[in-house]
Symmetry: C2
Subunit: 125 residues, 2 copies
């Protein structure tokens, strides 16, 4: 049984380390990477690596929560770019029977101003 | 061992059904609900139920991906409000030793315009 949680953590850690050799062996050559918020899709490990290698900014990723079952995993991670921008994001991974990643889906939720809520129910931090 | 994936699916399905009695027995009385994007927090099952009962709009939730381990689960779901607004969202759940939800964290990623990318790497849908 594939330890998808461990592989998902390694996926994020090898990105953080820019260890592209260790990162790309985690996935199939025809892996599909999707960003539903922008409706963008990248097909294939080579294009996906190129996308990451050339991604601008001094970005850093730190896993906060990792959950995996036999065929899928998710990592909720802190991201930071330089000294100022930071936030929460999530990456969902799908695995094949050999434990290789076949699909990667990223979500980058942005802060927003909350609507008015009834008094006393909600606190802010 | 708690089947957190099943309970997480039930959590979303009882919300969709507005079956508040079936929904609230899934969690502890002092459950904490957080929305990191707005930095909002609600403490306690009663306040959390009130928040949902009074939430405006004809909202609907449909699970797409559910992943659970012994103590946590995530549901990636489609949401829709009325005929027009729709999108992807995620809810992370934490469980105690009795299989009751102690913490709920929601993410509501919004669509955004992608930055310019190198030609030929990215397709749009």
């Amino acid at each position: 049984m594939t330890d998808t949680a461990r592989l998902a953590r390694t996926f994020v850690e090898t990105l953080e380390a820019r260890d592209w050799a260790a990162w790309e062996v985690l996935m199939t050559p025809d892996v599909v990477y999707e960003m539903p918020q922008t409706r963008e899709r990248i097909r294939g490990r080579d294009a996906y690596r190129e996308f990451n290698v050339t991604y601008p900014g001094d970005w850093h990723l730190k896993p906060k929560v990792v959950i995996g079952d036999d065929v899928r995993a998710v990592v909720w991670f802190d991201w930071q770019v330089g000294d100022r921008e930071s936030g929460d994001a999530q990456v969902f991974l799908e695995f094949d029977a050999d434990g290789l990643i076949t699909r990667v889906t990223d979500f980058w939720p942005e802060p927003y101003d909350p609507p008015a809520r009834p008094e006393g129910i909600v606190e802010r931090w």
